[in-house]
Amino acid sequence: MSDHAHDHAHGADAHEAGHEDHGLAHTTPISLLVGILGVLLVLTILTVSVTSFDLGSRGNLVVAMIIATVKAALVVTFFMHLLWDKKFHLVLFMTSVLFVILFLSMTITDRGEYDKDVEAFRQDQAQLNAK
């Protein structure tokens, strides 16, 4: 099936649906853009103020990452237009994220396992030097 023919149909449908659709793609309303910026700025303030609470080092990191991910999701969905875009682009983006997770998780797991050996070696070295 040629993408070519499909694209023409897509444009026509969007017009009929009454979206703000000029020409080749959907046009984002200004109010939405400004609104999202507002939310992003609020989240930024939030993420800075949370650091004044002590949730343990793990807790603070988790909260910071959650807020960052919410901000990222807003930027990707609205500023980067993915909400109105071809699903394949979302698939591509999520694939890259998944591969990053794959890469990081295997590497960190492995480091966690052999780090014990490295630390043990360092202890022995330190003891030898102390003598």
């Binding site: 099936m1 040629s2 993408d3 070519h4 023919a5 694939t95 890259s96 591969f99 794959l102 890469f103 295997m106 590497t107 797991t109 492995d110 480091r111 966690g112 396992e113 052999y114 050996d117």
Partner: protein, 557 residues
Amino acid sequence: MASPSTTADLVAPRPSPGSDNYLTHEKGFLSWALTLDHKRIGVMYLISVLAAFALGGTFALILRTELLTSGKTIIEHDTYNQMFTLHGAVMVFLVIIPGIPAALGNIALPLQLGAKDVAFPRLNLASYYLWVLGAICMLTSLVMNAADTGWTFYAPYSTTTQTAVAPAAMGAFILGFSSIFTGLNFIVTIHKLRPPGMGWFRLPLFVWALYSTALIQVLATPVIGITLLMLIVERLLHIGIFDPSLGGDPVLFQHFFWFYSHPAVYIMVVPGFGVIGDIIPVFSRKRIFGYKFIAVSSLAIAFLGFLVWGHHMFVAGQSLLAGSIFSAITFLIAIPTAIKVFNWITTMYKGRIHLDTPMLYALAFLWVFTIGGLTGVFLAVMSVDVHLHDTYFVVAHFHYVMMGGAITALLGGIHYWWPKAFGRMYNEKVGRFGAVTVFVGLNVTFFPQFILGSRGMPRRYYNYLPEFEPLHQLSTLGAYILGLGFLMTAVSLVRSLLKPPDAPMNPWGARTLEWTITSPPPYYNFKTPPTVTRGPYDDYEGLVYDEKIRGYVEKGA
């Protein structure tokens, strides 16, 4: 008047002498240097890649000559280390990774899609110039105190050695971007520039292979990019990421390096699968068996290839837990690969086999790649790898798959598309002889290395125990046979260019779209996108051989 729009409508005239084609359409250095024509870019890549192959091959011959005796033969030990480093780096980054996609893919992909060009022609030219820049950087390392770390650049040696590691790493970094842009271009081309009627499951298998390869190129190559960048910064500024004396982690380097370099070997070999997948049905005069399985298996290999990088690190300090996971998943890759091999063989069964040069290379591929692939499974077993790691067994394994897989397929593809790209047929006898010589040379060079490795001969060793001499000498003999085969082939191909274009439109009787236009093609490829009504390997019975033009024409034409 309606342009011919289906393959059935086309007749196959002999091009009249002096007729315009993409090679003659514009003349002059700038018309090539600033070309946006994918065919011209492909030709420039072909020449460059083959030149790099000759350079890397020369290093190989020097290495093999040095290894004739167990002590020093012709070079010093430091030079030896530099030789195998440059041999590996040139072959991997300048030849095999760009090889089939950039040279053959650029020429054939838009033609197989009935398209006018790739999606981003200027990006395509940029890819080529990045290749040239990367090559210059690598050569810079060569003429300075060439890097001696091995092409794998392991830390901490690579961060502390006094040799010119930074230019070599910078070269590889730039070449990575060349590769990324080619992959990006091909993905968009395949998604957006298909002709009417060519759905995904009517694509030639070469296109499926290029697509899968392009996905790997785009996902994996950035990681080697950042890794090489970190390596260069560590060398220059001693930041302490990889060097343990500065607080770094050398195993981390290996994780980073192999996260790309394992998928990279699939970048090297999957396009080869694609070439073989296009050649075998044509020269068996029979539709490919299991088209969908072969198509999807390319994607499966691409995906699985990302999950197994740790099998290069079993004895590097990686944990047993990680090692076990990587080992188990590595076994899985044998499955889609085997599906391909079985389907190709089944395609040939009860076909009418024509042993022309491309087919000889395809048959050689089946034999050599199977050996290479299976020995990879040996190495996937952790307990076996503990003994075989860093021995000649590994060297033999990867040369069987890279030389026997990728290079054999590259040569097969060159001979297959040569008449299309240049409008000339090469001397078939010499072509066949060259193919057989290469096949013999390959096996004589690398089979003894399996034996050497399993008997304990370590890789990258300059001096070795005298008991290994006979096998090393046999291997060196094979290397010279291989060199001879390549030389013969190169001379024959170049000589074919000296005669005027006389190749027919469809010398092999293939059904993919590139064979429906003149050889060489016009600069615009197709006047209008052809409408595709059948698969790429259908209806060979509808073509008959015409002695007068030495090519195939539609029956009843």
